[in-house]
Amino acid sequence: PEKLAAFQARIDAGEKIEPKDWMPLGYRKTLIRQIGQHAHSEIVGQLPEGNWITRAPTLERKAILLAKVQDEAGHGLYLYCAAETLGVTRDEITEMLLDGRMKYSSIFNYPTLTWADMGAVGWLVDGAAIMNQVPLQRTSFGPYSRAMIRICKEESFHQRQGYDIMMKMANGTPAQKKMAQDALNRFWYPSLMMFGPSDKESVHSEQSMAWKIKMNTNDELRQKFVDQTVPQAEYLGLTVPDENLKWNEETGHYDFSQPDWSEFFDVLKGNGPCNRERLAARNKAWDDGKWVRDGLLAHAEKKAARKVAAE
């Protein structure tokens, strides 16, 4: 309890906790879960966008999309490294993803159906992700905080690229404009869900906030996202699919409809439109890749042995 108090004092003083420092078991576990989920989200998040790489409309768009998906894999890598400093290996948490013990962001269980979805994912999904992640640059755990700083920089670049795609579509042919509107219709509510259920129903929130693992409440961030995104949609000439959406002079915020939380819990349970495909794709990659990992490892060992023998 003394240690705990000292630990909390460090956090309150704005100090960073580093991997070799003492930390409470709950802090460590919560961080592993949170960083792991975030890493898995980057990895699974490659799939919905990867789905359009082979159909990108121009060479430049194809290159941009490839670079983006590559960045996401890179983010996964930083985050797995951050998680590893907490004493869990990449293979261990990967297996937890693959057998369903660990989650990834539910947004990636929605399909990408048109090219405009590449815009909507960048604009809305990355936009919501950034909203979640910017405060985490100030999180108490050093490696996580540093990873977030690096990631946020790239993410905001991705978001601008996504918005640029939407802009092209919204100002394009009638079919393109329809595609853009359709993408917004499909991704709006799932994006709102990315901030998690309302604070009243959210578990663990208080402790995580005290530990500066969580920096804002879900509802705060969601409101911020809506306030930021609605004018962007207007600028694009697109309609947010919410009849109740309107500016509230009194609060200085937009009033908006909550997403369908029963859908959210369905998706969490595994019943999202693509849960099965996403996990199947990652499991297949892992299983099919076993001989490669084994082969490269065996070669590295042979090489090391030969080197020792030669010395």
Binding site: L59, K168, V292
Partner: protein, 253 residues
């Protein structure tokens, strides 16, 4: 065949190789055996697509009919493609993909080194930029072929199978024809056959380090770089690659 016609053909060969192989590599996105490979494959694809923009851009310029790199990539049907058959072969398993990549990269880097001294400045400029990227590609694909060839018995077996499968597609990279004759005559590009010995030596060394045996046959499939007879795989690839441009003609993206 005029010089410009041959030049256009040559540039399509360069650009279609990188386009088609880049497409194949990009199919791995999110599905590679290990995260570092996902990143490396995306990087290779990205380089190849970038090179495509330059080669096909120049091809359009040389043709002089106002076609952009995107027009050439997205609006030609299979018969107008000039990539070697090797580039369009399916990914297969990761070993097959890396073997295809190595056989290609090894020829690609030798060619680009020569092209960096092309009599055509634009060609020399593109090659000088591309050769740096491709030097890295071949280093990587070579290491992977060696690592997996000289890995476990299973990885060895798979790599030997990949080599046996793809070997008959290697020879096409080194055949000369009217187009290459004109290019060589103009000092724009070397005769492909002139690169063979260096390629053979490099490949022999790599395979021997990889404990793999090069097949004893010199049979070589042909028909890709002339466009006479591609494989059935290319047409299927184009249905994806060109879908949006075909479905929404004239739209800007």
């Amino acid at each position: 065949m005029t010089r410009d016609m041959a030049f256009f053909e040559f540039l399509c060969r360069m650009g279609d190789n990188t386009l088609v192989l880049g497409h194949r590599v990009s199919e791995w996105c999110g599905h590679a055996p290990v995260l570092e490979e996902d990143i490396a494959l995306a990087n290779t694809a990205l380089d190849l697509i970038g090179q495509t923009q330059m080669w096909l851009g120049l091809a359009g310029e040389v043709e002089g009919e106002g076609r952009s790199a995107d027009d050439l990539a997205m609006l030609r049907d299979a018969w107008d493609f000039r990539n070697v058959l090797l580039a369009e072969q399916p990914n297969g398993d990761f070993g097959q993909t890396m073997m295809r990549q190595y056989l290609f990269d090894q020829a690609h880097v030798l060619l680009l080194q020569k092209l960096a001294g092309s009599s055509d400045e634009r060609v020399a400029g593109i090659a000088a930029k591309a050769v740096k990227e491709v030097a890295y590609h071949v280093e990587r694909s070579r290491d992977t072929v060696i690592g997996l060839g000289d890995g476990t018995s299973e990885s060895h077996r798979r790599m030997q199978a990949a080599l046996d499968l793809l070997w008959p597609y290697a020879g096409e990279m080194f055949t000369d024809d009217e187009v290459s004759g004109i290019m060589a005559g103009e000092g724009i590009a070397p005769e492909p056959s002139s690169l063979r010995a260096a390629w053979d030596a490099a490949v022999q060394e790599t395979m021997s380090e990889a404990t793999l045996v090069i097949p004893d046959s010199d049979f070589a499939h042909a028909g890709g770089k002339t466009g006479f007879r591609h494989s059935e795989h290319l047409g299927h690839m184009l249905t994806q690659m060109q879908w949006l441009q075909r479905a929404y003609p004239g739209a800007r993206w």
